[in-house]
């Protein structure tokens, strides 16, 4: 399970305030002023307010929020494309915010790369030169970097398009180039800034599926920004919801869906079909001896209701939940299943 993995990025009490006197405003915020008050009285914009989180290695960490919630600013603070006002960002234990320019560039060249909402491709460079750009800044020689770029292009399914210019490609293909460009440097962390929101719905789904497939091979650490809640729960191992520069709720997606902390989060979760999110692990109860678990159909703990219901309909409604080694974790019974389907809490 990814939760056991070591922390890759840790963000502690991060603030970003736009305006003339960010330090003063931060003190005011800590004393209890709200974002709206600050904006009205001082003209300062509070983009990120006291954000802390940890992203573990190999995990997909999704930040979801509406426009203006500060999520784009937040990820730019991670690579200091925007300079944060205060706080700490630890990458493998090293504070990014204290690095000098040269060290920071090394980091951007080798460890973290980014995929942008509007692709951010270089219109004057061929596809292959776009993909090779990160390697070029590293100073890799031409033959080598073109070979690496070619591999990355094949990985995203754009073999044969290397000689074209970005302007000649469709939006979906352009974003594949953006993805290939990010992958080409073989970074430890990939940051996605609403990468699919400029694409039409069908292409968007296709790209999401492909990203999931790629991640199964790559096991990179992904930080993914989106304003689409369904996209968030589809991709996330761990989900943070932002509003007005703050994280309002954080947790595994199903936990967020099942236990929204406030009205705001509720608004998003309402539209989510529970059967897609709730897993066997969430609704199972401890096994009892009379269950006769050995004779029951078995499922892994991350199976969703969607898959559980047909099995339950066939049999006596009781299903054993077993771990990878076949160890019995719990039992899903009729009561748990029906309560979950009705959207009620399991007590």
């Amino acid at each position: 399970m990814p939760t056991a993995a070591p922390a890759k990025i840790t963000c502690q009490q991060l603030y970003k305030i736009f305006g003339k006197h960010p330090q003063r405003i931060q003190a005011a915020l800590q004393a209890g002023a709200t974002k709206q008050e600050v904006l009205q009285q001082t003209g300062h914009v509070v983009a990120v307010k006291d954000v802390s989180f940890t992203v573990r290695q190999g995990e997909t960490f999704v930040v979801m929020g509406l426009s203006g919630s500060g999520k784009s600013t937040l990820v730019r603070c991670l690579t200091r494309l925007i300079e944060p006002t205060s706080g700490r960002v630890l990458l493998d234990g090293e504070d990014i915010l204290t690095m000098d320019e040269a060290r920071l560039r090394q980091l951007r060249r080798h460890k973290m790369s980014m995929v942008f909402q509007h692709f951010g491709l270089f219109p004057h460079r061929r596809v292959i030169d776009n993909v090779a750009y990160g390697l070029e800044t590293q100073g890799m020689d031409k033959r080598q970097r073109l070979a690496r770029a070619q591999e990355a292009l094949e990985l995203v399914g754009l073999k044969g398009w290397h000689d074209h210019f970005p302007g000649e490609l469709s939006g979906g293909m352009q974003q594949r180039v953006g993805l290939a460009r990010a992958l080409a440097v073989d970074p430890e962390i990939l940051i996605f800034d609403e990468p699919f929101s400029a694409l039409d719905p069908l292409i968007r789904r296709e790209m999401q599926d492909e990203l999931i497939k790629l991640q199964e091979i790559m096991h990179k650490t992904l930080i993914f920004i989106t304003h689409d809640f369904l996209e968030a729960i589809k991709l996330a191992d761990y989900l943070a919801i932002m509003k007005d520069g703050e994280i309002v709720q954080m947790g595994p997606p199903q936990q967020v869906v099942l236990h929204p902390v406030n009205e705001y989060v509720c608004e998003f979760t309402e539209d989510v079909p529970r059967s897609h999110v709730v897993t066997a692990a969430a609704i199972m109860r401890p096994p009892l001896p009379e269950d006769g678990a050995a004779y029951l159909p078995a499922v892994p703990p991350d199976v969703t209701l969607q898959a559980l219901v047909p099995i339950a309909a066939e049999r006596d409604a009781r299903i054993a939940v077993r771990g990878q080694e076949g160890d019995l974790l719990g039992i899903v019974d009729r009561r748990g299943l029906m309560l979950a389907l009705a959207g009620l809490e399991l007590t």
């Binding site: 690579t79 494309l81 560039r105 090394q106 980091l107 951007r108 060249r109 080798h110 790369s113 980014m114 942008f116 909402q117 509007h118 692709f119 951010g120 491709l121 270089f122 219109p123 004057h124 460079r125 061929r126 750009y133 990160g134 070029e136 800044t137 590293q138 000689d163 074209h164 210019f165 302007g167 000649e168 460009r181 440097v185």
Partner: protein
């Protein structure tokens, strides 16, 4: 939305607010009458108020002349600078003159083919050849050398400065007002201080040309870099680019088309000043035009003018092709080889790859073989000479005899010229200088300025007008003002209908476009030559030339403004049953107004620049004063005239820009 009237006019404002501008005009008129009724003279500017600025300036000039050979500023700065520029221009001139002419023509044609295939090859080779055929080969090459050095220096300073301004807002804020001022200044004005510090020769012409041509190089470089999308820049930063990598791998390549457009403009500006620079000792074609004009040898001036036009076409089309090339690179299109494709494919690889180099070497070998054995090819052969001067002089004589007054009908250029002078120009000048009291004149201009840009601008305009008087240039300024007003009125009267027509008829626009392109390639001075043929010297030829010079941008911007009106709005107008005339006057023209006002701003500025230049051919006014200052070495007088010109240009510019701004705000665009 433009369709909705602003709230202000719905709730009727008090009567005096609605009528304030007519009231102010009436007040001014009353004031003028009142002032005239006073016992002392209010119509002529009080001479006692002159600042006599020319005295200290002339004193400074004598100091400069006295210390030019001993002062460190010359010994360590101006002289070495002069020497370096002189050395390079001489070298280039010598090299060009030592090159056999077929090699230059062939080389330029090859370059044309590389940049724009056969069309451009023929055009550029042909232009160069024609310069030689005018009998102006050596002069053309001299001018070319001047251009190469000036444009080279301008770009060397302009592009780095532009880059610097693009990256540092502080540098940009510092440069912007300077560039604004430089661009409103008519070229004449530069010459005076340059003359003072560098004397008369080729070097000061280079310096003046560099200064004149610098602004577009800086401006368009900054613009090009600023236009690179922030998302692209962010992506480059996110992949760990150093500032240098960002500049050279992303920003500069993307800014290239705009920078190349700046190079094109720099070249054209430099060429535009070539004739004027001849006033302070630049040789070449400019001198030919100038001498021809001054001695009224129209044939000679015409030939040289034509040669300048050929050079302008040559340099313009080549540099434009260069900038198109940098755009075309971004598309993935194999070069269109047409019927040569088969031949090219059969060529061995080295021939295909280095075709141009091989062709050039072949040309080189051929030319030098002929040069060494048969004839000296450095001299343009006399048998290729196209004798134009004599027939043109004949044509001028014929025009003078037959077109100046056609029969005894009272029609023709002469009567027209007389009419314009006697019934329009002179009365207007008399009105400004003798009839209207000067305080009323100042207040009228201030009121216009206040209407255009608020009371601050009004105040500034009033101060500017006063300054013209203090500079003892009141009467000359009013003379120039009257000529400018007449020329602008004529230009707008012609340009607006043509612009509307071009917007309404694609065929007419297609017909007009090459003509306008051509008119815009001609350096301002050259306009005077054919006009002089018909109208002789005086104020009228200057006005005609100004109108011709200022027409293209006014027509273009009117056309553009109307064509840009939203299709949907036009459909809505038609759906409500508007006639074409109603659509034009109620919808299209009002919506095109911001663009039209920009056109008028450009018209005014160009007319002023030309009216000043026309001082050379008897236009009088500030232009003549500046010319006298230059020609007779009366620096003080020249500086006074120059300052008055700058002030007048700035007042005109701000007033017309202010109106354009008001329209833009009213249209919400």
């Amino acid at each position: 939305m433009a369709a909705l009237a602003p709230a202000r006019s719905l709730t009727l404002s008090p009567r005096w607010v609605r009528w304030r501008w007519p009231l102010i005009a009436a007040g001014l008129l009353a004031l003028a009458l009142l002032l005239r009724a006073l016992p002392w003279d209010t119509t002529t500017w009080p001479e006692a108020w002159d600042l006599h600025l020319r005295r200290p300036i002339d004193a400074f000039r004598y100091w400069v002349i006295g210390h030019r050979n001993t002062h460190w500023l010359w010994l360590w700065f101006f002289d070495p600078l002069s020497a370096a520029i002189d050395w390079s221009i001489r070298r280039i001139e010598q090299a060009l003159l030592a090159t056999p002419w077929p090699l230059l023509v062939g080389g330029v044609a090859l370059l044309g083919h590389r940049l724009g295939r056969w069309r451009l090859a023929w055009l550029s080779g042909g232009c160069l050849l024609l310069m030689g055929m005018m009998g102006l080969w050596a002069q053309s090459l001299q001018t070319l050398a001047l251009m190469v050095v000036s444009v080279g220096i301008a770009l060397q300073f302009g592009i780095p400065l532009g880059i610097w301004a693009a990256r540092s807002p502080r540098v940009d804020a510092f440069l912007r007002p300077i560039l604004d001022a430089m661009q409103t200044m008519p070229a004449f004005v530069y010459l005076i201080p340059v003359l003072l510090f560098f004397g008369i020769a080729r070097v000061p012409s280079v310096i003046a040309t560099v200064i004149y041509a610098l602004p577009p190089a800086i401006r368009l470089t900054t613009l090009g870099i600023r236009q690179v999308s922030p998302a692209t820049v962010e992506a480059a930063r996110a992949f760990g680019s150093t500032p240098r990598q960002l500049l050279f791998k992303v920003q500069l390549p993307l800014a290239m088309p705009t920078i190349m457009a700046g190079v094109n403009q720099t070249i054209m500006m430099a060429l535009g000043i070539v004739v004027i620079a001849a006033l302070i000792g630049a040789g070449g074609l400019g001198r030919e035009v100038l001498v021809g004009l001054q001695r009224l040898r129209v044939g000679q001036a015409f030939e040289a003018g034509l040669a300048i036009v050929f050079m302008a076409v040559l340099l313009d089309r080549l540099s434009l092709a260069l900038s198109h090339l940098s755009i075309a690179k971004r598309r993935h299109a194999p070069a269109d080889l047409g019927r040569w494709a088969g031949l090219q494919a059969r060529c061995p690889l080295p021939l295909r790859r280095h075709g141009y180099l091989l062709a050039f070497l072949l040309l080189l070998a051929g030319v030098y073989a002929v040069h060494a054995t048969l004839t000296d090819l450095r001299v343009f052969p006399a048998w290729l000479r196209l004798p134009l001067a004599a027939p043109i002089d004949a044509a001028v004589r014929w025009a003078r005899d037959h077109l100046y007054e056609i029969g005894n009908s009272g029609l023709g250029a002469g009567p027209f010229s007389d009419f314009l002078t006697l019934h329009v120009l002179t009365p207007l000048r008399t009105l400004f200088t003798a009839t209207l009291p000067w305080p009323a004149m100042i207040l009228a201009v201030a009121a216009l300025a206040a209407h255009a840009g608020g009371w601050r601008l009004g105040l500034a305009a009033a101060l500017g007008m006063l300054a013209m008087g203090w500079l003892s240039m009141w009467n000359h300024s009013m003379d120039t003002l009257s000529q400018t007003i007449v020329a602008v009125a004529l230009a707008i009267f012609i340009a607006l209908p043509l612009g509307v027509l071009a917007a309404k008829s694609d065929r007419f626009e297609l017909l007009l476009r090459p003509l306008l392109d051509f008119l815009q390639t001609i350096p301002p001075f050259v306009y005077l030559v054919p006009v002089i043929m018909l109208f002789n010297v005086g104020r009228v030829p200057g006005i005609i030339a100004s109108v011709l010079y200022a027409l293209p941008p006014a027509i273009r911007l009117t056309n553009l403004g109307i064509r840009r009106v939203d299709r949907e709005i036009l459909e809505a107008a038609r759906a409500f049953g508007s006639t074409p005339a109603q659509i034009l006057f109620k919808v299209e023209l009002p919506l095109a107004m911001p663009s039209i006002m920009m056109g008028i701003n450009q018209t005014v500025m160009m007319v002023l620049a030309m009216v000043i230049i026309a001082g050379l051919v008897g236009g009088g006014g500030l232009g003549l004063e500046a010319v006298i200052g230059l020609a007779k070495n009366e620096t003080g007088r020249g500086v006074e005239a120059g300052l008055a010109i700058v002030i007048m240009a700035m007042i005109f510019d701000r007033i017309t820009q202010g109106w354009a701004g008001r329209w833009r705000i009213a249209r919400g665009s």
